[in-house]
């Protein structure tokens, strides 16, 4: 873990790790005997006629929640449906967890959807959860037309090299993906943003290539918009409001692979960061329990350790060792219990480190006082709560070890709840 340097006047710069030199192949994790998928929505409300325990299933087949929502997950192994249960994620988000029992015989039939020419409708119903996740629903909102797709060929979080690998090693499918993406979305302007060190020739690609700085958090969409594309995202707005849609290089490569091969790609690339902070790229079928990966890599996890899905700055901790690989799992971090930085209940001492580190100039020293007092609306009005892009640098650097970013997330969540409560009150 990066520590404050002796010469503290020089602000620490968290850097993204460039993937350089000869790139070693990711370690292939064998397909799991039981895969676990999460479908958005409560288990009680699902339409049981769509699939149920014991049904045969083929890889690439969507498992829909109900007719009410368009939530689905895509089967990544062939076999039969096992148990169906409830799962609760961060901030109480509810899922239906489905296990799939893999059977040995392989189905080598081409996937019906990706064998037909690309279209937004078929893609929406089938390809949103490709490895890397493709946010296709963002292209359906007529009020917010997308004019530019930004493909980011790096990763948001430090130490993660998943997407950098894709850009370096899977150029053919990436190229194919860009073409398919244009066909599906009808968007013409594609920007490929790549981390600084990785700028090479992408002449064959039908996209503008831009360079992104290596200092964390330059790779956040808001920062790329600001520094690379010269657009400032108004606080509280999304990139889509400005007509930009961000996708990961992996998602585009998966799309390319699907249409190129006619098979639904089921493998996700993951940067695994072990207790010694060494990274290893692995390729695992979506739905594989993390414990399978740990076993294969010889990582032991014990009571009191921490398992983080996502990177060290932005990920979320999970409480199950057999939490599955999800379509958007770019990294998994295992932290030893001795390396876990604990938060404290110390007050802010007004040292200002956070203020001078925040990439978007949030007056955190003032903000944190209001947030601790639960004054969320005032925090949003006076101290730029909504400008926060969620990089976590303030918490990283705070000598009082205040979980500032956690406060910020909670505040945004609470304000969101208050807003929707007001709206329901008004409409009723």
């Amino acid at each position: 873990m990066l520590k404050k340097s002796f010469v503290g006047i020089i602000k620490p710069r968290l850097e993204y790790q460039p993937l350089t030199g000869s790139i070693s192949e990711p370690i292939l994790i064998p397909p799991p005997s039981t895969a676990r998928l999460l479908v958005e929505g409560p288990v009680e409300e699902r339409d049981t006629s769509l699939f149920s325990e014991g049904d045969p299933i083929t890889a690439g087949q969507p498992l829909r929640h109900s007719g009410q929502t368009d939530a689905y997950a895509v089967a990544t192994v062939s076999g039969t449906v096992g148990t169906i249960s409830a799962y609760t994620g961060d901030f109480g988000k509810v899922f239906t967890a489905v296990t799939l029992l893999r059977s040995e015989e392989k189905t080598e039939q081409p996937d019906p959807v990706v064998s037909t020419p690309p279209s937004l409708d078929t893609a929406l119903a089938h390809l949103k959860h490709l490895p890397g996740t493709l946010p296709l629903e963002k292209f359906t909102d007529q009020t917010k037309p997308i004019h530019t797709i930004v493909i980011y060929g790096g990763d948001n979080d430090i130490l993660v090299t998943t997407n950098q690998y894709i850009v370096k090693a899977r150029t053919t499918v990436l190229e194919h993906g860009v073409v398919s993406l244009k066909q599906i979305t009808g968007v013409d302007r594609i920007v490929l943003a790549v981390p600084g060190e990785a700028v090479q020739t992408f002449g064959h690609l039908e996209a503008e290539v831009k360079k992104v700085d290596m200092a964390y958090p330059s790779a956040f969409p808001q920062m790329i918009l600001h520094t690379v594309l010269g657009q400032t995202l108004p606080a509280g707005k999304s990139c889509e409001d400005l007509g930009f849609c961000f996708v990961t290089a992996e998602a585009v490569a998966s799309l390319g692979e699907a249409y190129k091969t006619g098979h639904y790609p089921v493998r996700k690339l993951i940067t695994v960061i072990n207790k010694a902070e060494k990274q290893q790229l692995v390729s695992a079928v979506i739905g594989t329990p993390l414990s399978d990966i740990f076993q294969q890599l010889g990582i032991t996890v014990q009571d009191g350790d921490r398992i983080i899905v996502g990177g060290p700055m932005t990920g979320s901790a999970v409480y199950l060792e057999d939490y599955p690989v999800m379509p958007d799992t770019s990294a998994v971090v295992v932290q030893d219990k001795d390396a876990i930085a604990l938060v404290s209940d110390y007050p802010c001492i007004n040292c200002g480190e956070c203020v001078r580190t925040c990439p978007v100039y949030v007056p955190i020293n003032m903000l944190v006082r209001l947030l601790e007092a639960g004054l969320y609306e005032e925090a949003a009005d006076q101290y730029d709560l909504y400008s926060c892009i969620g990089c976590g640098l303030c918490s990283f650097i705070c000598p009082s070890k205040i979980p500032i970013y956690q406060f910020i997330r909670l505040a945004k969540y609470e304000l969101e709840r208050m807003k929707s409560a007001e709206e329901t009150n008004e409409s009723s």
Binding site: D303, V318, P347, P399
Partner: protein
């Protein structure tokens, strides 16, 4: 399935750079040490007693408040000890015990804990305490009177008093060499210029204080003193004299830089420091007091919340 293991679940980020409050306090104590040691060398056992009593009583007041308010005991963070030490550094070596106890009480209890403890105080606790004591018992801070029984081998007159009452010409009696090496009359830990500068540089390099404040404070003193000196060199001493006497250096590196009562943004830090420096010289030159650092710091502490409103616009802020 194997028995369920228990993992630590918490929110991002999962890394921390390892900085902490005790580290800040202890390194500030360390940085103050050279100045204190030289002070103890010149002022002897009386000074040792004042410093020891000040530190220990500050810690005890903090402990008492922790207990009375049933809060977590915070003496381990070193901040109370730091307040005690800084307070003692400003005192003459002969300060009576009751004044030390009162002073640390005012600093720790009224200056810090009443405001909600560390980080809540709007004035530097030490400065507030010295200000209150010097109003209530002005003779305690009359260095010439307090240290009258000392006869050391340097000029036994408080430099700022000398120029105030006998004109700028007396400044020539004090050589820069003496002023830099602690051979001057003043607070226990406020006279050893070199030590204070070294400590300040250490704190700046380590990032424990903000250089913008210290440097602009010193620059403010320098420029203001230079202007006065140019106007009438017989009445007002030169800038170097002001930089090396009184509480200037403690003020620049240890008092004005108090985290809680100083601004955090770049431009406000510069204004805050410069204003403190200029005010100091104004008070020294045309005000009622010999030294101006204490009141100057109080004033800039007071305007700090206003100053910190000058800040860069948050990215994406819609007005």
């Amino acid at each position: 399935m194997n028995p369920r293991k228990k993992f630590i679940v918490s929110h991002a980020p999962f890394w921390h750079n390892g900085s902490n409050i005790p580290e800040r306090s202890y390194h500030t104590l360390l940085a103050a040490l050279p100045a204190v040691v030289v002070g103890l060398h010149y002022w002897g056992m009386a000074a040792v007693a004042v410093v020891s009593l000040s530190i220990s009583s500050a810690i005890l007041w903090e402990l008492a408040i922790n207990k009375v308010t049933k809060k977590t005991v915070t003496i381990g963070d070193g901040n109370a000890a730091l307040i005690g030490l800084l307070f003692a550094m400003l005192l003459p070596a002969t300060t009576p015990w009751w004044a030390v106890l009162t002073g640390t009480f005012v600093a720790v209890v009224l200056g810090k804990q009443i405001f909600g403890g560390i980080g809540g105080n709007s004035f530097s606790p030490v400065v507030l305490s010295v200000a209150m004591l010097s109003i209530s018992w002005p003779h305690l801070f009359d260095f010439d009177g307090m240290l009258v029984n000392y006869d050391l081998d340097f000029v036994m007159v408080y430099p700022l008093a000398a120029v105030k009452h006998f004109g700028a010409g007396t400044a020539a009696d004090f050589s820069f060499g003496d002023l830099l090496t602690g051979r001057q009359v003043g607070g226990i830990g406020a006279t050893f210029g070199l030590g204070l500068i070294a400590g300040g540089i250490y704190l700046i390099v380590r990032g424990f204080i903000r250089w913008e404040i210290s440097i602009s404070f010193l620059a403010g003193i320098f420029v203001a003193a230079l202007i006065f000196n140019l106007i009438d060199p017989t009445r007002w001493a030169g800038p170097m004299f002001h930089l090396l006497t009184g509480y200037t250096l403690v003020g620049a590196f240890f008092l004005a830089t108090d985290d809680s009562s100083s601004p955090v943004n770049f431009v406000p830090m510069l204004i805050y420091g410069a204003a403190g420096g200029v005010l100091t010289v104004l008070i020294r030159s045309i005000g009622a007091f010999e030294d101006g650092v204490i009141y100057a710091v109080l004033v800039i502490n007071l305007v700090q919340p206003l100053l910190d409103k000058i800040r860069p616009k948050a990215l994406g802020k819609v007005v």
